[in-house]
């Protein structure tokens, strides 16, 4: 494995991604990306997915019946 980040292979860069993404470090500034369109596209896609995830599956309240069933079961000693 090369010690020069700019000379990393795609495999080496991508192996680091799980730690880099979300660490607070700007992954886009990584030297490997200067000359690697493939990994730039990968990182952009992963960021797009993570960003889009915030809008997914809006939180919803359970219907009141759920509590009624819980309460009824508690009364019965379940």
């Amino acid at each position: 494995m090369t010690s020069d980040p700019g000379k990393m292979s795609c495999a080496e860069f991508q192996a680091q991604l799980p730690d880099v993404i979300g660490s607070g470090v700007d992954a886009n500034a990584h030297p490997h990306l200067k000359n690697c369109e493939l990994c730039r596209a990968l990182l952009a896609d992963l960021e797009t997915i993570a960003e889009a995830a915030r809008q997914l599956f809006p939180g919803v309240e359970p219907p009141d019946e759920v509590w009624e069933h819980i309460e009824s079961a508690i009364k019965k000693g379940d």
């Binding site: 799980p18 990968l42 896609d45 797009t48 995830a53 019946e65 509590w67 508690i74």
Partner: protein, 230 residues
């Protein structure tokens, strides 16, 4: 007799917004329930103590504070309203049986999520899905792994991702990947919290999340190619 004031009306008044749930936060302040918007809600330690002592009204308040997140988690995992209602009910009944054993070693919401996750995973096992335990959730089979694409001419996702398409892709993820993705990217839990919920390392949580995102990328690009062919 058990009193039955509507828990919906009691959710307010005991919430603390913006509590930091980092590991260094004192246990009394770590009873956190973050809303899906990213804000946080803490369970008052006194309320928790009363619920642990068998105070039914206090338990109803704990339910009110956490019902939305637990129900949403169940619904996101199983994708079926009736099933999610049953799982929520089972999770809170288990909470009622076990709440006295909570000792504050982790945040209460982390502990409750862990309990709910086990209920969900048990259900998935009953349904015969390829998921037996949390360990298996964290170690999907080789067939479930995302593809690698070093050196291949690649197609980047174009612009914004269609929400419904992404939701479908998430629903089709292997349950273990789906769980990590929902907990981190949708619900906003940190890796240290997920590691505590799933009894795994932080590194494992990061690695599985990365694989989940790669799987989603595969699915979205496949969908994009499909759309381009039509």
């Amino acid at each position: 007799m058990v009193d039955s004031p509507s828990p919906t009306q009691r959710a307010n008044g005991t919430q603390k917004i913006g509590v930091n749930d980092s590991p260094s936060t004192p246990p009394a302040e770590r009873h956190v329930n973050r809303a899906t918007t990213g804000s946080t809600t803490a369970v008052d330690p006194e309320l928790l103590s009363r619920a642990q002592a068998g105070d039914h009204q206090a338990f109803a308040q704990v339910y009110s504070l956490h019902k939305r997140r637990i129900y949403s988690l169940c619904l996101r995992m199983v994708g079926n309203v009736a099933e999610a209602e049953d799982l929520t009910q089972e999770a809170f009944l288990q909470l009622h049986r076990k709440i006295a054993t909570f000792r504050g070693d982790s945040a209460f919401s982390t502990w409750l999520h862990r309990l709910a996750i086990n209920v969900v995973l048990m259900q998935l096992r009953k349904k015969g899905l390829s998921l037996i335990s949390l360990d298996e959730a964290m170690e999907p089979t080789a067939d479930d792994s995302p593809s690698r694409s070093f050196g291949a001419p690649d197609l980047a996702l174009s612009g914004a991702v269609d929400r419904l398409v992404l939701e479908r892709a998430v629903a089709e993820l292997p349950a273990g990947y789906r769980l990590i993705f929902i907990l981190h990217d949708v619900e906003g839990f940190e890796h240290n919290e997920i590691a505590a919920m799933l009894d795994c390392s932080i590194g494992n949580s990061k690695s599985q999340l990365h694989k989940a995102r790669l799987k989603l990328r595969d699915a979205l690009r496949a969908q994009s190619r499909e759309g381009a062919r039509l």
